[in-house]
Symmetry: C2
Subunit: 311 residues, 2 copies
């Protein structure tokens, strides 16, 4: 991929897999990772960015590979002591992880933009690809549920382990939030735009809601390719399939491709999925289940070679 | 000491020793510990109360006995990761310790008073004596130095290891801060008032500056006894002697007794100190160097028995 600028839009664990695959095969200056902020929240006064942290820990090699998030071998002594105090302990705060939150919160308090702080964390961790939060503005995904009404994202996702029945999603603040200058420039200069196999509703749509992202993507006459998060009518991880059922959608890769609509002009489905055709969207079936780091690099490689073959 | 209410004013490590001695020999309902807040500060967005924490950890048995502060066996994984990020690491943040700060900060943000939060922490740690910060208001000890100008207390004490030359002390906010209702009530109901062998200038004076403490103490017709922090022209720990020299004061127990003036009517000096007489102040010489927990109980016991013998 000589001198091709690749931009990938990612959420958390699923996004981190493709990001790591791409990072293994592309020169760092050619890869830009744009990460969702809809999951970000404040907890114990700490600004926590779960998706960005997962990407940072994954690309730096710090990640706990069993979970796909958090720092490998991290202790939870602060969390254990918080339990002694009767404090909330539903969100797993690892001790090294807390440093990330403390550093970020302190720098934001000092007036730094989230984009700048994220770059500082990446540099300190030896991550040499560009990692940009989609916006420096506030935007929070709110999950409206049958059982508990409106839940802040992490309450839905972690505290209630995504078990409540989703009735609708709200992207609070998305009307006024603006994509950062860095994100806009990266998309304007991209030769290839990828959407990682992240949750379309929870991770990708929040980014597309942030002006001018959707329109800017559609305007770019370059390959814009999403990778299916659905393999064989199931989500690889997390609530994507469950949410599709709750939204009365067919659980399929085709549903995802149609959801992205004209934002994409290419789609990577899985070899085990039922084939489908969507007008204006080129499709390829690959083995998209990334288990090892080699799998991740292989899939990234196959996707980019397929895209390079487009006439 | 049947049904004698004892109140002890304390700073950090030195104060914790006497507080632990008293806690070993008094029924918990008869002991109230009033702790300095002049050392409190904000760091990484955390409200840290070093003196209260030292008392909490000491009375709960959690304390690192080698240092006299911090949690025994605590890890510093958050701090190590903060160093990776290039963050400030001059203040030792233990991982369990951070939980104390996070819990306190969160409860303050929710609107709880510092007094209430301190009580919650004490209860959770099994500390059954009353522990009250002297005020819920802001009051910060500022150390003016030759080398660095005005230093926030922890910068002077920890970052610069109390090496700069003190020119004067400022108790910022002390004019408007008020002692809490709990502190006032405890002093009003005290049968014995003790001032621990804490630093007179850095730990005790900040409390005495908070209205109506000095006047209230003076008004109480009960034994009001300070314990010398100076043994043989040296401070047991910390900068008391150094500060006395910098303030052109003789480094002696007598200087301390005269500094407290009419706030006290009794003084415990050490057997190795030069004897002295201060009008209106009864004096006894005891072995005040508390090394073991048994030493602490023994000194507390001797002091209270001496006081009970007053006619």
């Amino acid at each position: 991929m000589p001198n091709q600028n690749v931009v990938v839009l990612v959420g958390g664990v699923g996004g981190a897999k493709l990001a790591l695959g791409l990072a293994q095969i592309l020169p760092p200056q050619n890869l830009t990772v744009i990460v969702n902020v809809g999951d970000d929240f404040w907890h114990y006064g700490l600004k926590i960015c779960p998706d960005a942290d997962t990407i940072l820990y994954t690309l730096s090699g710090l990640v706990d590979k069993n979970n796909g998030w958090g720092v490998s071998g991290d202790t939870v002594n602060t969390l254990e002591q918080l339990r002694v105090y009767g404090g909330d302990s539903w969100f797993r705060l690892g001790d090294r992880d807390i440093a990330t939150h403390l550093y970020r919160t302190e720098r934001l308090r000092q007036g730094a933009r989230l984009t700048q702080v994220t770059a500082e964390l990446a540099t300190a961790l030896g991550v040499n690809v560009r990692l940009f939060p989609v916006t420096d503005d506030r935007m929070e995904t709110i999950v409206h549920t049958q059982e508990h009404g409106a839940l802040a994202f992490q309450e839905y996702f972690v505290k209630h382990r995504w078990q409540p029945t989703l009735t609708r999603l709200e992207y609070a603040g998305s009307e006024s939030a603006r994509a950062s200058a860095e994100v806009i420039e990266a998309i304007e200069q991209a030769d290839v735009i990828l959407i990682a196999p992240s949750n379309p509703y929870l991770s990708v749509e929040p980014m597309l809601r942030i002006a001018p992202l959707r329109e800017l993507l559609i305007s770019r006459a370059v390959p814009r390719v999403a990778v299916t998060p659905i393999i064989g009518a199931q989500a690889v991880k997390g609530p994507a399939a469950k949410i599709m059922r709750e939204l009365n959608l067919e659980v399929s890769a085709e549903t995802v491709a149609r959801f992205y609509g004209n934002v994409i002009n290419g789609f990577v489905t899985d070899t085990v999925n039922t084939p489908f055709v969507v007008d204006g969207v080129r499709t390829i079936a690959l083995n998209t289940l990334m288990q090892t780091d080699a799998d991740k690099a292989a899939l990234a490689n196959q996707i980019l070679h397929w895209i390079m073959s487009w006439d």
